[in-house]
Symmetry: C2
Subunit: 304 residues, 2 copies
């Protein structure tokens, strides 16, 4: 497996020219998790190589329009294109009411099951898990209830040693159990420790943390510690630190300070105020503190 | 005065490539009336030369997403750009609930007054009038309550004859009254008929009718009779007449038949099904019945 992050939109409050507001897609095997979904996001999927019907889950950080106004259009288009697979939406409770009211106004019964999962704004919680990945949410500090998300691949299965297979010819069921780390017991009750007959996978599981809108806060460090890629908003530069504090946003320096303290491998900044025509000064400011910083731009695709 | 119609979007259910769903702007002097507002409409305003803050009124025909999903983003952006002038929104009652719920979810108190005017789906009614224009709504026949709109300029003021001005030197107040058609009474009670001292304006008031989504119906003829420009949906071609009927949409032939029966000056078709990569066949079909047909395309600007 591998994780790829697609930047669909990385602007802040309002779309300006080609810069639309927050929307990201995380590719995992043959499916996409959408993370926030601003107005116009659905129109960028095809140009960026994201197949709409491969979106399985959507995570909405909070209910400021620049993070979710495109969701209703996406859900509507999936319906009009005849989707039958369920879609899972993770968001605050009011989002469900907003979707329901609009579907009812249009007299629309979706062609697919929409499974809504309510996230709690003040709680760190595991909200999704399968064989390959788990997703946790955690509180951010912003002007309305806002959540971050962290996506962590699980460890790969262990590899069986060839001599063990030759000697014992284990069943398919046993192979799976041994790969998952269980000890082996043969037909005569003979016990062999897992470490004797397997080697760990060389694959390093990847992780991505998403902090959409937040004031600078060290309270998030435990949740994002050591991730491979951290997205952290950087609405302003440090000379507007007071404005950032007032509006419960962060600066490029602050994003970098968090990245450094969390010992992440790389930092992706975004949610730029429209006043920054060039991203270079924001990038330079962040890199002075955390060199492995990348500036999000529409269409960018990163290996996590 | 003059009226200009800007085509912002003229697709149907879902945005496809550069073709976004229904959104139009009618320019009247130095202000714009928006007619339907699909997702992404706000992003097209600047490229098409429509100043966002010059939008004074928005008319929403019905609550299928392809006609209004862009409204909330537009209202939000107007707020974020610091608008203080009121904006007037005309739509069905549920639209107000949808706007309120989303504004509340984002903890947003708009920077400007939003004046909502509820339209009734089964009623022909005058919904707006000023010195220069009046706007009426009328029922269309579609799968949910849907309204058309007709925008009619008023007759221009009459012109005062020069010899009357020279002889009587009327006050500014009298000039306005005479231009509006009143008879003149001088200081001695002497009465002069308006027609003796004025000439009619040579300006022909213009009119634009908008029929967003509707099955073929002659019930709309009285409301759109003789308009200068009729926009009528043409989702399908005539070989899909049965599908059109089922889905309560119209064909290009049907739009042209209505245009002819209503004796309008020009027909603009749009709301094309995504199956039509080229608009030429739709246009030919309509022109066979009503030659003065134009196919809407994003970015087109028409003098009404």
């Amino acid at each position: 497996m591998s994780l790829k992050l697609y930047v669909i939109g990385c602007g802040s409050a309002t779309p300006i020219g080609q810069r639309i507001s927050s929307a990201f897609a995380l590719k995992k095997e043959n499916e996409f998790f959408l993370v926030d979904c601003s107005e116009g996001a659905q129109m960028q999927l095809k140009p960026y190589g994201i197949r709409m019907q491969k979106i399985s889950r959507v995570f909405i950080s909070h209910l400021h329009g620049d993070h979710y106004f495109g969701l209703i259009g996406l859900l509507s288009s999936l319906h009009l294109f005849g989707r039958t697979e369920p879609i899972h939406v993770y968001g605050h409770a009011v989002l469900k009411k907003i979707i329901d009211l609009q579907m009812k106004a249009g007299n629309t019964t979706l062609s697919y099951p929409l499974c809504f999962h309510t996230i709690k704004s003040h709680k760190h919680a595991l909200i999704y898990e399968d064989d390959e990945i788990k997703v946790e949410t955690f509180p951010l500090i912003h002007s309305i209830p806002t959540n971050g998300f962290v996506f962590r691949e699980k460890s790969k299965n262990r590899n069986l040693k060839k001599d063990f297979i030759a000697d014992y010819n284990p069943s398919v069921e046993w192979i799976q159990r041994l790969k998952a780390g269980e000890d082996f017991v043969d037909g005569t009750g003979n016990h062999i420790e897992n470490q004797m007959i397997t080697t760990p996978s060389s694959y390093q599981p990847k992780s991505f943390a998403y902090c959409s809108d937040t004031v600078y806060t060290e309270s998030i460090l435990p949740y994002i510690q050591g991730v491979d890629l951290l997205y952290h908003e950087a609405t302003f530069m440090d000379n507007m630190k007071d404005v950032a504090r007032d509006k419960l946003h962060a600066t490029a320096s602050e994003a970098a300070t968090i990245a450094k303290a969390a010992n992440v491998k790389a930092l992706l900044i975004g949610h730029y105020s429209a006043r920054y025509a060039s991203l270079e000064p924001l990038l330079q400011e962040a890199r002075a503190i955390f060199p492995a910083t990348i500036a999000a731009e529409e269409g960018l695709v990163l290996d996590v």
